[in-house]
Symmetry: C2
Amino acid sequence: MTIAHDSMSSQIAALADGSRTASSLAEAALGRAKAFSDLNAFVAVDEPIVMRQARAADQRRRLGRRLSPIDGIPIAVKDNYLTIDYPTTACSNALPFEPSGEDATVVANLRRAGAVVLGKTNMHEWAYGATNSTSSFGATRNPHDRNRITGGSSGGSGAAVAAGIVSAALGSDTGGSVRIPSAACGIYGFKPSYGRASRHGVLPLSWSLDAPGPMTASLEDISLILPYFFGQDARDPATDGAKPFQEARSSGRPRLIHLVGPGLERSNEVDGTLRAALDASDASVRESTLDHMDSYFAAWEAILHCEASAYHVQRSNADMSAYSTVTQAHLVAGGMLSGLDLIKAQRIRSHLVETLTRGLGDWDALVLPTLPIVAPREDEEWQEFSGRRVTTQDSMTWFCWIGNLAGFPCISIPMPREPGLMPVGMMLMGRPGEDEALLAVAEWIDKKLKRNV
Amino acid sequence: MTIAHDSMSSQIAALADGSRTASSLAEAALGRAKAFSDLNAFVAVDEPIVMRQARAADQRRRLGRRLSPIDGIPIAVKDNYLTIDYPTTACSNALPFEPSGEDATVVANLRRAGAVVLGKTNMHEWAYGATNSTSSFGATRNPHDRNRITGGSSGGSGAAVAAGIVSAALGSDTGGSVRIPSAACGIYGFKPSYGRASRHGVLPLSWSLDAPGPMTASLEDISLILPYFFGQDARDPATDGAKPFQEARSSGRPRLIHLVGPGLERSNEVDGTLRAALDASDASVRESTLDHMDSYFAAWEAILHCEASAYHVQRSNADMSAYSTVTQAHLVAGGMLSGLDLIKAQRIRSHLVETLTRGLGDWDALVLPTLPIVAPREDEEWQEFSGRRVTTQDSMTWFCWIGNLAGFPCISIPMPREPGLMPVGMMLMGRPGEDEALLAVAEWIDKKLKRNV
């Protein structure tokens, strides 16, 4: 089956020149969602709900009352974003299958611009894992190979975009949950700086690590949708002082620091793909190591489990059996950490921020593969690469959690691959608050890579 | 023995008109420190160190090179501020009696302005208590009654100012440690908004509650010394974006909210003094309650003990016997709290901030007595007032910790009393970051009260 990449920018152009209507885009998306139902990308799609939104968009356009350039574009929403029309379950049996009566801030922003919410996408239960194999709706399958996972936790959003059902989908990212399925499915994914985008109405996993972010068919699409994510929202105190999206200036030849060394291993296949892409990009690249990876990872895990346990404590005390056994183990682990453990983790986190800030200096971005391997087969519990043997779960967050612990903006872009090979993503990490500058660097590289495909 | 209140502003005027020299001020302070040695206010005063600074100030003035209006003014420094010339022990046996080789930021700021560091003042061990009865140098005595405590933890600074040894002293405040001895000794004390003043070089007790602050003989002196406290300091990340001191505009008739009700009891003597002062001040006053005082207090204690344990963990693991038995108990308690306890405490803290912000509305300040009782006798372990029976320790922090948990600026000013009675302080709490507006309110009230003395 072919993988389509109908970008949001091409859909916007088609709506503008009248060659497509919102209704025809919606019908195509609904048809494609059905055709690709074996991916298990969606947990709720309701044709009447979708078509009502699309027809309203068409009517606005006919009357010259278009709300924005994206008025009428279908968008998929991860099942941990509250939506007024669809239920929100975080793909957990602990929540009822009922609409929540409220839209998350990002969803509300998109609706005000006329975007059509196509449906809710499958995810790793409570976003508490990075494989998308654990979900009350069953596992998600990778459009490039049905025997492989999408990665998660925004795996349904990744599959929906990669299969061309939608050009853009919403994800959330606590240790890579936007970037992991983006890389595994061969699309673009952006994790904003901590506190730049509102989490209001996105069910939390770990509030000091969580960031909502878009997953799209093209890099241009990231710039088109980020304005609906960024800016201050009184209902998410972390966005206090957050700036709205600014048009990115174009970047000069980027100067990148490629992180390598212990704790940053990757398979030869992935390493070769990255090095070839960096060569092809003509960016200036130097290598650097990052010490104390074990301590940093332990700090990320401590904060993650402790905050998740705190968020779930009432529900888990009332009925632990509503959670999968893996999530149960995590919640119990989080409850066993001491206050001193948590404070130590926060101090190690400060150390990471200082180290990365100093390491980055006046260079443009850090660069890593997004994943150390290509998307694993569904039945593999362990992954081996470059002398490391880790669980499939840990292989998915392998590089990505660094961006969450530090709060730095990150982007995953697909790299050129021979036909038939699984996608491999390049991850770029920029300075906190300078999301647009990171985007400009990614655009520079993406353009060069496309010229070389 | 008489209590002198030679204010900093009068000393500045005397230096300016040539009626005093820095050397004569220093000699007078040294003489008075000796005369009042029974207060045990100082733990280190070195005549050659003091006179060298004073003579240098006099020489600068003779040459027309005065560094600032306070060039040559003697100032006392709490023993938890690092000082290049004097040892810094936090009045604990755990630290050596040796100079630290560095000045705290506030001390360095004052020295650059030419202030003369007279000596280090006695304090409650590690600032971990509010009576000043526990100190490696022995208890401090109240200048108004030698059988009564000064309160703490900045008790030596309180006694030194109240006895007229210095016009200003440095304190630090985690649950009232500036305001408590200010009220108990009848002087002025200011706790800045959290993050407005640099703590760099001030030994921490609990970094999310700690604030350094001045203790002075007059309210004008607070305005004269606060500029050396306020503003951004890269070595204290909490001051990121902190504004320098702005000249306070004068306040109109202040609108105050007097907090009363369960958890906010005070003795009849203190309540009567406060109500009489509020009447005399002619401020507009309405009463309000503050629910959940027990939860808020538990949250303050959890954060305090957990952060203090984390700060001390290496030293206490190595030699717990270097701490007093009370401090040992606190450190052990802090280590037993879970990560979930700490997170819960932080959430309750957010709730307090929201409640106080909403409660304050567009009114000017919250008002309370600084202490629920006058300074207790040294041998009293329990205090009883208005149906409450609490330890002397808890009676000292009774109202004050609210300001630290919320991070709001607070000031304690003495109220008019019949001759021979122990001092009673009025505490005003303003909006975070609006320290100057709070100061203006205090000035309005102080002026009215002085007219009525």
